[in-house]
């Protein structure tokens, strides 16, 4: 297929596709899908990859891909800066803090000649290295950095439409375009083959993330029956908290709820809240300030040992 000279078919493939370019591509001259993106006149001269200096940056309002982001007052972000941040510093910072070093890989003692060039010993009492805990200052106040949403649909192995539906569902509740996820390997007793589309995932940051958080804490979680909260045992020890919602819980999102007919089936999903907190306890304190409830006892801490 590949030839060093640019052939006619290659140059056609590199052409940007518009609804009017169907004829040039050798397709029938009409598009059966109703187009939804005719927003602005596109200056096609500026899109050519041959003259990169003519291309407009994505922040340029003349670029057809330009999208305004700061379109409303971000009350969640303002709440963090005006109310939460100073309290978190007061809660976390202690007098005379010092860096607590994590568990690191160790040198071999050299008692055997085979120790030469051997990779370092694993840390004491741990399989992996752990992070240092640095003193708490005004420059490292914990903050929510991103929310990863992951939706793996088991039934997609039999019916690929389920994977597409989960993708649209995530887009509906977050307003951000998700990416499909594919099975990486063959798993014979799950009847999953490598390359199957199995669901969708998305990473929320900034305004969409804050919008999603406030929908979750103001509308969805309070309406789930007998919802106890996120487990206090959740967390990856470095300040990231994980939780999940069932297919029934997803129905409480207003975008899904107002179009019940469209959603005969909903899909549960996992959330990973990435924070800049150094420990899970700090991350939980941070998330509580956003109105996320927690329940149960914490890892390694017995409730009777806590003095209030």
């Amino acid at each position: 297929m590949f030839s060093p000279k640019p052939t006619a078919s290659l140059s056609v493939a590199a052409l940007r596709q518009f609804t009017t370019s169907a004829v040039a591509l050798g397709k029938p001259g009409c598009n059966t899908i109703k187009p939804v993106h005719h927003r602005v006149k596109i200056n096609k001269n500026k899109l050519s990859h041959r003259f990169p200096e003519l291309n407009l940056s994505k922040n340029d309002i003349r670029n057809p891909a330009f999208k305004p982001t700061s379109t409303y007052q971000d009350r969640v972000e303002e709440h963090y800066h005006n109310t939460i941040a100073s309290d978190l510093l007061l809660i976390n910072a202690q007098e005379g803090e010092f860096t607590q070093f994590g568990k690191k890989r160790r040198e071999w003692d050299g008692s055997s000649p085979y120790h030469l060039n051997r990779s370092l010993r694993k840390p004491q009492g741990s399989e992996a290295e752990t992070l240092d805990i640095k003193p708490h200052t005004a420059s490292n106040i914990p903050k929510i950095e991103a929310i990863h949403i992951n939706c793996y649909v088991e039934s997609a192995k039999d019916n690929a439409n389920h994977a597409l539906n989960s993708l649209v569902q995530i887009q509906q509740i977050t307003g951000v375009k998700p990416k499909p996820i594919f099975a990486k390997t063959n798993v014979i007793h799950w009847r999953v083959r490598a390359g199957f589309q199995m669901g969708a995932r998305v990473t929320l940051k900034g305004r969409p993330m804050n919008q999603f958080l406030s929908t979750l804490t103001d509308i969805v979680l309070p309406r789930i029956r007998e919802y106890k909260g996120i487990s206090n045992k959740s967390g990856d020890r470095t300040g990231n908290i994980q939780f999940g919602l069932t297919p029934d819980d997803i129905r409480y999102f207003p975008e899904i709820e107002s179009n019940q007919d469209l959603w005969p089936k909903t899909y549960g999903m996992h959330f990973n809240v990435v924070t800049s907190a150094q420990t899970d306890a700090e991350a939980r304190t941070l998330l509580s300030a956003y109105g996320l409830p927690f329940h149960g006892s914490e890892k390694g801490t017995k409730p009777e040992n806590i003095e209030y």
Binding site: H37, R39, N82, S86, L90, A93, Q94, T279
Partner: protein
Amino acid sequence: MASRGLLTFQRCLSTSPATTSATSAPAVPLSTIRSTLLLTRTPVVTPELTPFETHFYNYQSELERRLMWTFPQYFYYKKGSLSERRFVKAQKGPVSKQPGVFFKKGIPDIVHNRERREKQEVIIPKSEEDESMSDFNRAVVPNSRTTKADEDNDIKSLERALHRSLYLIVKENGSWKLPSFAVEDSSNLHRAAESGLRSLGGEQINTWTVARSPAAVLKYQNGKLVAPETQGEGLQREYVIKSRILSGLFAPEKATEFAWLNREEIEQKVSPEYFQATEFLFSKV
């Protein structure tokens, strides 16, 4: 790993007087220590926008609507259904370009039934609205940002200045200051502050102590404020404990004068020296 997590957790909950009053604990007699309460009512509504911000957000959101993709009607209304017919009927539809006609608002630029020069107006049909979407389609009318307490300038009300942080200050011996209480024997600073607040303002108050460690220290020598780094004999210390009011009322039985004020109002009430020492505790929002 678990032990490290526990250590951090215990540090977070650290209560021993040795950490709160630092190195001075053994040398300083308890009678010279007082616990001061910084009781906050956090903002209830969003901060007020400047005219520039209002215009900026308005412009950006109109621009976003203008650049939005066309409403995917086929996704929300099944083809050939009654609801689709109702929806299509309710839409105004763009004005198309005609030869020899003068268009006052500019020549229409229509592609696939969408006017590209303007944002798309999607009209929800009336009958749909009456049946199922009444709640969804109802116009959102926000409550007023100013309350009756604002109009009456009632500084004892918690319902004033909703967009600002308010702080409780009381009048003691003729001067306004944060409420402060003596520390009883074997009591912690935050417990002294919380119980003192209830003895002064009644039990009908629900507060949350933000942290056990004090947010600030105020030092007095011969009844006058001195710099916080001052050391020596005869110093009176006030440790400021930060707390938030969650619900309830501060309703003192005795004729204690009190006020819920924001930063600028506190500056007018308290003495200049006191404000200079406590200024950093009060939020500008």
